[in-house]
């Protein structure tokens, strides 16, 4: 009854070699009888082989959605549908996993079953933004597949000019470096933004990412409009006995090379008794020494988050890194979390009101100036926001005294 597997000499080359082969997976799906994905995948393999042969892609976009939402399905229609009609519609459903990408096998198997029934059987774990991508769905199957996934307790991810699916590092679930609860923060923010995820109406996309420390395992700094990173304010915790053990283990010269010499701000000295001399005022919380000496060193106890805003890829202006707009904020109590969510909303509103069409937050700030952004958000100017003060005199400073007054007021009210 069913179609023949197309000849795929080029793709077959990708079945060789030790790494798990997606081609083998596609063929496995194509070769399965009695499921819709058998035919879909035969078509898909044909079109993909055609791409390999001609070195061109053959998908075009379109609009496909689910009832009640304005985004979350990436529609794909084939430009070579006449040759490969079985995969002429090959849409992706973006579904948000639990923060930190945790699963039990029951959940995963259930997802597989749904996708076996309604889709191509191909699932990407995960997309670069953090979605589960159910890839390859006919238009008429989108709604039923979605209904079942939604019933399981999962919701649609972002696409288009709205808030996007977030990502977070494993955080306190399995990492001693986590300075705040990445998973809880992720959930608090995203679940307060479902409307902006599902009904995008911003000038352009907006991404949040959550990393528990400066190691940034969630790639937040450059890949999120709003990056929330863990840090600490007091002194790092030092176990000098473990330091001495580490010096012994590496040898003195190597310890100097790998720890003392690599600290970016020369905050570390090695005492003659092989204990560590930490200048916490110079330390920039970069994590390096802590990474090397996992047993001897730890972040301090006064922990919280810093927020960087404006990271993005390259379009129009070149890549941008996020830059600091909140150097430190506690994130422990419920009120702390509420404050964070409120701040995120202010960021979104300001972005919605002030960004130009197809302009990301970082570009907007570059255009209007950081000071105006902070003022718009009611955030206090802080010296940690700059890497250095201005290096040129091209600025009109006749409001100097007024600004000095503001600074002094802020300082004295902080001291109270």
């Amino acid at each position: 009854m069913s179609k023949k597997l197309p000849s795929t000499p080029m793709l077959d080359e990708l079945e060789k070699g030790p790494w798990p082969s997606f081609v083998t997976g596609l063929k496995r799906l194509a070769n399965t009888e009695g499921k819709p994905h058998g035919d879909i995948m035969k078509g898909l393999l044909g079109q993909l082989e055609h791409s390999y042969q001609t070195r061109k892609g053959y998908w075009k976009g379109g609009t496909v959605g689910v009832f009640g939402y304005g985004a979350g399905v990436i529609a794909r229609f084939s430009e070579v549908a006449s040759q490969y009609p079985e995969s002429s519609e090959f849409h992706t459903l973006r579904i948000m996993p639990a923060p930190g990408f945790f699963y039990d096998t029951k959940t995963l198997r259930q997802m597989c079953d749904i996708w076996e029934e309604h889709g191509s059987g191909l699932i990407a774990l995960h997309g670069q933004s953090g979605d589960i991508m159910f890839q390859g769905c006919r238009t008429d199957q989108v709604q039923p597949a979605w209904d079942k996934l939604n019933e399981m307790g999962f919701d649609m991810g972002g696409a288009g000019a709205g808030v996007r699916t977030a990502a977070s590092c494993v955080g306190p679930a399995r990492c001693e470096q986590a300075c705040y609860d990445t998973l809880a923060a992720h959930r608090a923010i995203i679940n307060d933004f479902t409307d902006d995820i599902h009904r995008p109406s911003l000038p352009y996309k907006m991404k949040f990412k959550f990393s528990g420390c400066a190691n940034d395992c969630a790639n937040a700094t450059q890949r999120a409009d709003v990056a929330i990173l863990g840090t600490w304010k007091d002194e790092m915790q030092v176990n000098q006995t473990e330091v001495q053990a580490k010096v012994k283990q590496l040898g003195r010269k190597e310890f100097i090379n790998q720890v003392i010499r690599m600290c970016p701000t020369q905050a570390l000295g090695l005492n003659d008794d092989d204990t560590l001399d930490v200048d916490n005022k110079s330390c920039v919380r970069c994590m390096h020494c802590i990474n090397v000496c996992t047993k001897a060193l730890k972040p301090g106890k006064e922990r919280g988050i810093c927020i960087l805003v404006g990271g993005k890829r390259t379009l129009k202006v070149g890549d941008l890194m996020g830059t600091v707009v909140v150097p430190f904020m506690k994130l422990e109590s419920e009120e702390d979390f509420e404050k964070l969510v409120e701040l995120a909303h202010n960021m979104l509103d300001f972005f919605a009101d002030n960004a130009l069409e197809h302009e990301r937050t970082g570009e907007m700030i570059e255009r209007i100036g950081l000071a105006n952004y902070l003022e718009g958000l009611g955030l206090a100017l802080d010296i940690n926001m700059i890497s250095q003060p201005r290096t040129n005199s091209y600025v009109r400073t006749d409001g100097w005294d007024e600004e000095v007054r503001k600074w002094n007021d802020a300082k004295s009210s902080a001291a109270e």
């Binding site: 790494w19 009832f67 390259t314």
Partner: protein, 356 residues
């Protein structure tokens, strides 16, 4: 037609319901970790309890059979729990040290290489390519598979100076982001405009606004409204293509592959860095991109041999200097390496710091 169902707008579910119970027990209480062997982490909590994590590489774009196999393994060794990393590796957690070895064997028997921890080469971050995207110049899954075949030993062992994060991207938009090594499509010719289609599908002012160098102008072609590109200005970025498919930027020959190095998101030691162009003009040689693999392997081998412990790719190069990087990797240096974009002057050497 039956009535449509309203969605439950629930957002993301709570992770704890899916987490291995040992992680829930020790949530936020971790004291330290070490790595008993490549591919295995041991996290010890303040309570003294230890959790072992075994990490297996996947192809990310998985068929349901593959996922079910992973589930079988998790059921057998990990009480039915697993997670995925931000780089699509599967992590299996257990408190029972004796299960580590059989778990590794089970994964490898099922074809999942165990590794990707510590100072290894992690799985390559993955984009869509010809499989799904509407604008790709190459295939992400194919490039990643071809490269991982070559790099699997570096995934399985921890022999690099520090973690190596590789990314691929199937167009210059670069959904793969910054990486120690980034392998991205680089177009080398301005788009060829399909004038017949422009009038029909293209919102012209939007496309014109998208161009970073203002190279696109409205034009009348054969009496119909179309666009034209100032080829002297055009930097071949392809940004006009997504909003206007008739701006055909993809070309089987002129869409090439470029290799970038030294990107980094972490603020560890050095501040985060953008990746830097080192090789371009590599052919888009599907299905196995041998020219790309060769460059990547050469860079990795040089880094491995020369960098010091804990130096990320970009940090190593900053120390030894770009002259030595190009010398050791034998890559040619051209005027295209000299930054010409806004603020590019800041990438010139404004000092007497010289590497000989």
């Amino acid at each position: 037609m039956s009535e449509l169902r309203r969605p439950n707008e629930t957002g993301v579910p709570d992770s704890k319901q899916f987490m291995h119970p040992a992680l829930v027990r020790n949530y936020g209480k971790w004291a330290f970790h070490d790595r008993p062997r490549p591919g295995v982490l041991r996290h010890v909590s303040d309570t003294g309890e230890a959790v072992f994590t075994v990490k297996g590489g996947t192809q990310r774009q998985m068929d349901i059979f593959t996922i079910r196999t992973l589930c079988d393994i998790a059921d057998k060794f990990c009480d039915g729990h697993l997670r995925f990393t931000t780089r699509s590796s599967a992590e299996f957690m257990t408190t029972d040290e004796t299960k580590v070895k059989p778990l590794i064997e089970a994964l490898e028997a099922a074809g999942f290489p165990v590794g990707g921890t510590g100072n290894s080469v992690g799985f390559i971050s993955h984009t869509q390519g010809w499989l799904h995207c509407d604008i790709p110049g190459t295939d992400a899954s194919g490039v990643v598979k071809a490269l991982m075949d070559e790099l699997v030993d570096e995934f399985k062992n921890e022999e690099m100076p520090n973690r190596v994060k590789i990314t691929t991207s199937c167009c210059q938009i670069n959904c793969g982001g910054q990486g120690d090594i980034a392998i991205n499509v680089q177009h080398t010719k301005p788009p060829v405009i399909n004038h017949a289609l422009v009038a029909g599908v293209c919102e012209r002012p939007a496309v014109i606004a998208r161009c970073p160098v203002a190279a696109i102008r409205p034009a009348l072609v054969d009496g119909k409204p179309s666009l034209e590109v100032d080829e002297k200005k055009c930097v071949c970025c392809g940004a006009c293509y997504p909003p206007c498919p008739p701006m055909q930027i993809n070309d089987p020959v002129h869409s090439k592959i470029a290799v970038w190095v030294g990107g980094k998101h972490s603020s560890t030691r050095s501040k985060p860095m953008f990746h830097k162009l080192v090789a371009a003009g590599l052919p888009n040689n599907a299905p196995r991109w041998p020219e790309v693999a060769e460059v990547v392997k050469k860079i990795l081998a040089t880094y491995k041999a020369d960098a010091r412990p804990w130096e990320r790719m970009g940090e190593w190069i900053e120390r030894i200097g770009w002259p030595r990087f190009f010398e050791m990797t034998e890559l040619p240096f051209t005027k295209y390496h000299v930054d010409t974009w806004r603020g590019g002057r800041s990438n010139l050497n404004a000092s007497a710091h010289l590497h000989f």
